[in-house]
Symmetry: C2
Subunit: 389 residues, 2 copies
């Protein structure tokens, strides 16, 4: 096990009706709020009105940044920073999924920074301070509600970068599984794939002695497999929505990676797909992941042990089979699961052809893939993209 | 899943050499320290000198409360409070196992309280504030390093009570697995049993839909079983010590109980054994637990599902056996494991006879056992004590 520093200060208010504590939570940290959200879904569900009522009750003036995109753009961040600075905002409140929260994080940091907010995306070390952030989560996927990470895009350059900072960790996050009842099937499925990918990125590591981390990862993968299916077919199933929502936070709040590290593989490859084609992040991950697994297993036979462990402990494949056979079955079951919950299995299905594969592979390979579980260069990424067509 | 509020603000510095960060960590919160520790083991291992050097380097005057007992006594707490008040101490530093940390917690709260510290033990709601607490852990067992709980005894009344408060959560805990290399076999075994018991107290609950919590609990139980054995036989095995140490914190920092609650059963029963006979807490737990399991399974057949799940997922018992058979085998395997790591299996072996069973059963039954997984009254506890003789 590697040395690590564990620090997860976010307070999570989990469960039905926790929105009633929002006003009190916000008041603890600020007096003038910027409300950051995406499209109209929080208005349709009535959550928007509840949020405003809570703020009004606590005499907190609200400014709004709405229309945050599914892959949040730097232009939205800049607009949020402007609103904060012009209105002396001292707390940021994100209501929505990971996109709104990611945008709000960089807005919160940008409000305490003199230069352009894009600096904070490409130079995380420049994030020294941020306004306090409170979130209300409506989608189980990115885990942004409980960590200091954010991903922001500049579509003008087809750039999509992740940034991070301790100051970006939310003070309080409200997680009410009922707010995810209205998430459509395809977004529920994509969110589940995103959670699973976060787990894979840690589970497939080479740090010896990370027994606890591996067992926790397997537990969360089983959670996604069991409840992802249920939530897609029965959207109002509280137990399914609750387990998926909590899994989304635990998958990437550090509890899996402390001591083990994160060996990002699928995420950097997918970020190029979203940056070039603006596809749903979780869909891109689900398309790539089984092909990435197959590629790794074929090119580095020493990985068979971990893939077989995955097959036995997560998919319940019989231990007495040949290890390579278990590993291959496990990868096939991963693909079958994504298909079963309705996610496309090829890039062509989401409108991606061969036209940009080489430039995307080149960019992806420059995003730290030499530190991946199986180190990937441009040629490797291109092969995985092609296998995914 | 129940509603819950997640809040684990303790920063954990985990791994080899983290002691080098102690001075900096303490300086962040205070200027005059009370050092709380037990016997001479930290002097023998050289840890005491390292701690003092760190404090000296940061110009922090140190006052000392030494000789804290394995089941910490209220007299030690009172002495600590006196030292804090007389010397304007503004930070408490515990170096040792759960006993030193528990004692330090109540000292830290007592220093901010006008009445007698025992009030804070029997009335947790009176704990409003506490001096900041930093810990250096030397024993994987109680999990006190990452939560707000403390157990204090008043031997003059054979009383042993648990108290708790948000203000008691350590600010920083240093967990260096190498500091547990010198823990003797019997204490390593007892610590492992204590960790496992914390997990059982949450795993055996009746809250529906706590899938994640159950899988995490099983993962930690497997960790204890695998590495408890290794650590007893190979005390300098870093991987084993690291996994046990991290398991001790995760077992009772809330990650297992959030959403599931804690249905204390073995702990209240054991506390009476320690209160009357001053035996090692983990030994008492290991003696009682399999007998408690058998009693519950016999008296409430509906519990067979969870016991069978425990047998399959933790002990790898074949799923195709009869459920009751799996459950019984799982309990037997639990007993066998404790025996294998060298823990006595009967009360008589640790010097406890029939003399106080009735009064102990009466006291234990008054400690909230009506809320246990299987509610226990005086007669039930007595039966379990007798089965444990």
């Amino acid at each position: 096990m590697n040395n690590f520093e564990y620090y997860i200060p976010t307070k999570v208010l989990f469960g039905k009706g926790q929105i009633a504590r929002l006003g009190e939570a916000v008041s603890l940290y600020g007096t003038r709020a910027l409300l950051v959200y995406g499209g109209g879904s929080i208005k349709r569900t009535g959550l928007y009105d509840k949020v405003l009522a809570q703020l009004k009750e606590n005499n907190i003036p609200v400014f709004e940044l709405s229309g945050v995109e599914p892959n949040p753009k730097i232009e939205s961040v800049r607009e949020g920073v402007r609103l904060c600075k012009e209105n002396n905002v001292d707390i940021v409140l994100a209501v929505g999924g990971g996109s709104s929260i990611d945008c709000a994080k960089v807005v919160a940091a940008g409000a305490c920074y003199d230069g352009d907010a894009w600096d904070l995306v490409i130079h995380p070390e420049k994030i020294k301070r941020a306004l306090p952030l409170v979130t209300v989560l409506t989608l189980a996927a990115t885990g942004s509600e409980m960590n200091g990470n954010a991903v922001i895009s500049d579509m003008s350059k087809n750039d999509k970068f992740g940034t991070a900072g301790l100051a970006l960790k939310p003070k309080v996050s409200i997680l009410d599984p009922e707010y995810t009842y209205s998430v459509p099937k395809n977004q529920t499925a994509a969110g589940t794939a995103d959670i699973m990918s976060h787990i894979f990125e840690v589970y497939f590591n080479r740090v010896p002695g990370t027994f606890i981390q591996a067992r926790f990862a397997e537990g969360l993968l089983k959670t996604c497999i069991k409840y992802g299916k249920i939530a897609v077919n029965d959207p109002h199933n509280y137990e399914a929505r609750a387990n998926l929502m909590w899994a989304s936070s635990l998958a990437i709040n550090g509890i899996l990676s402390y001591g083990a590290g994160v060996a990002w593989s699928a995420h950097p490859m997918e970020h190029e797909l979203s940056a070039f084609y603006d596809i749903t992040h979780g869909v891109g991950l689900a398309i790539l992941t089984p092909n990435w697994m197959t590629y790794v297993l074929e090119h580095d036979k020493s990985t068979v042990d971990r893939f077989a462990e995955y097959g036995i402990n997560v998919w319940g494949i019989r231990e007495d089979l040949d290890k390579m056979e278990i590993a291959k079955q496990a990868i096939q079951k991963t693909r079958d699961f994504f298909t079963e919950i309705g996610i496309p299995s090829t890039l062509r299905e989401v409108g991606i052809g061969e036209e940009n594969l080489e430039i995307m592979a080149k960019k992806a390979a420059s995003m730290g893939l030499e530190n991946a579980y199986y180190p990937l260069d441009e040629k490797d990424v291109l092969a995985i993209y092609k296998a995914s067509l």
